[in-house]
């Protein structure tokens, strides 16, 4: 469909409706980010930027991040606003199918999980676990554009 993007990670490829995901996030970005008062902490981009991950590690860390959002973020982001909730679940569905698609390929092709991506993902989990679940999930959701910018 229009706006679908195919990402290639070595032997693996995953298709995501990036235009749709981006549009959904843009519609709720101000709402979600305004619920995150903590300026001094980022889940994804500090202290280590995603942009420093080696290309050979992209397959592994992309799958880890997609699963992270599915398992630890979207489910903890219910709000009192039904419009926002609908956009979140639409994005969550896109992430779920991409995560499954990449997960199957990872098993078959053994995507390399190098030391760097393992360390990077550990740091992301540590940042996440440094906050209470709802704050951590809302902050992570507010950083979705950081993930999408890096993926693209």
């Amino acid at each position: 469909t229009a706006g679908n993007k195919i990402f290639h990670f070595g032997p693996c490829r995953v298709s995501m409706s990036m235009a749709e995901i981006r549009a959904g996030f843009s519609a709720i970005k101000a709402n979600i980010q305004s619920r995150d008062p903590i300026r001094s902490l980022s889940i994804l981009s500090h202290p280590h930027s995603l942009h420093k991950v080696k290309s050979s590690d992209r397959c592994c860390i992309t799958h880890q991040l997609l699963s992270f959002y599915v398992d630890k973020v979207f489910r903890h982001c219910r709000t009192e606003d039904s419009f926002v909730n609908r956009k979140i679940s639409s994005i969550a569905n896109s992430f779920l199918s991409a995560s499954r698609e990449l997960g199957q390929c990872r098993e078959q092709n053994n995507c390399v999980c190098g030391e760097e991506s393992t360390e990077k993902f550990k740091q992301i989990l540590a940042n996440y676990e440094g906050l209470d679940v709802t704050s951590a999930a809302m902050k992570s959701l507010g950083e979705l554009d950081i993930l999408l910018d890096w993926m693209e």
């Binding site: 981006r22 101000a30 980010q33 300026r39 981009s45 500090h46 554009d145 999408l148 910018d149 693209e152």
Partner: protein, 203 residues
């Protein structure tokens, strides 16, 4: 921090206005304050705990501050904040929303140059450059920033008012089979599919 008791109304509508990643902080004066209000500005990289003062925007009476240099790394996101002062009192710090230079900038139309033979038009398109600190600094085309960048081109026959639209990824287009001795109007727009960014059409 030696701050005065702050009873002044706050600056309003504090936001970044960005074109080709020239990122300028704008705000409106506090309600009901006439002349004489001064401002100071600070900014922060999202995820890093430090607010940094902008010396060139300290005690200024204008309502904008160019933070392009401080926000030029488009892999980062930023906040900025403004405080107003008048007659010994001050306002609160008023912050922007989180600013992502990559998705929150506007893009100028492309430069269009046209050459023609008697039956065809050759159109050359040039994407604008990212803002840079000085003319000597290396130029970065927005094409490098947005690899998926495309051009939408409109060609109008001024006599028949018939219009053609083309969507191309490379920067040249040849339009054949045109009518000799006829005026055509060419206009082009930049389209970035994701993150979704569209420029205006060129004049």
């Amino acid at each position: 921090s030696g701050e005065l008791y702050c009873s002044l109304p706050n600056p309003r509508n504090v936001r970044f206005e960005s074109i080709n990643m020239k990122n300028v902080l704008h705000w409106s004066a506090p309600e009901g304050t006439g002349d004489g209000v001064l401002y100071k500005v600070k900014y922060a990289v999202y995820g890093v705990g430090k607010w940094i003062r902008k010396p060139e925007c300290r005690n200024i009476n204008r309502t904008w501050c160019d933070l392009s240099s401080e926000t030029s790394d488009y892999e980062e996101q930023y906040y900025a904040s403004v405080k107003a002062f008048l007659n010994g009192t001050c306002s609160d710090w008023m912050e922007t929303a989180r600013f992502n230079p990559l998705t929150d900038t506007k893009i100028d139309p492309p430069m269009v140059s046209v050459s023609s033979t008697d039956r065809s038009i050759s159109i050359m398109l040039t994407a604008p450059e990212k803002w840079k600190r000085s003319p000597e600094e290396e130029s970065i085309s927005l094409l490098q920033v947005y690899p998926g960048l495309q051009y939408n081109v409109s060609v109008l026959n001024k006599k028949t008012k018939k219009r053609w639209f083309f969507s191309i990824s490379n920067n040249t287009l040849v339009v054949p089979w045109l009518q000799p001795g006829t005026a055509y109007c060419v206009s082009a727009q930049i389209h970035v599919p994701t993150p979704l960014l569209d420029s205006d059409f060129s004049k």
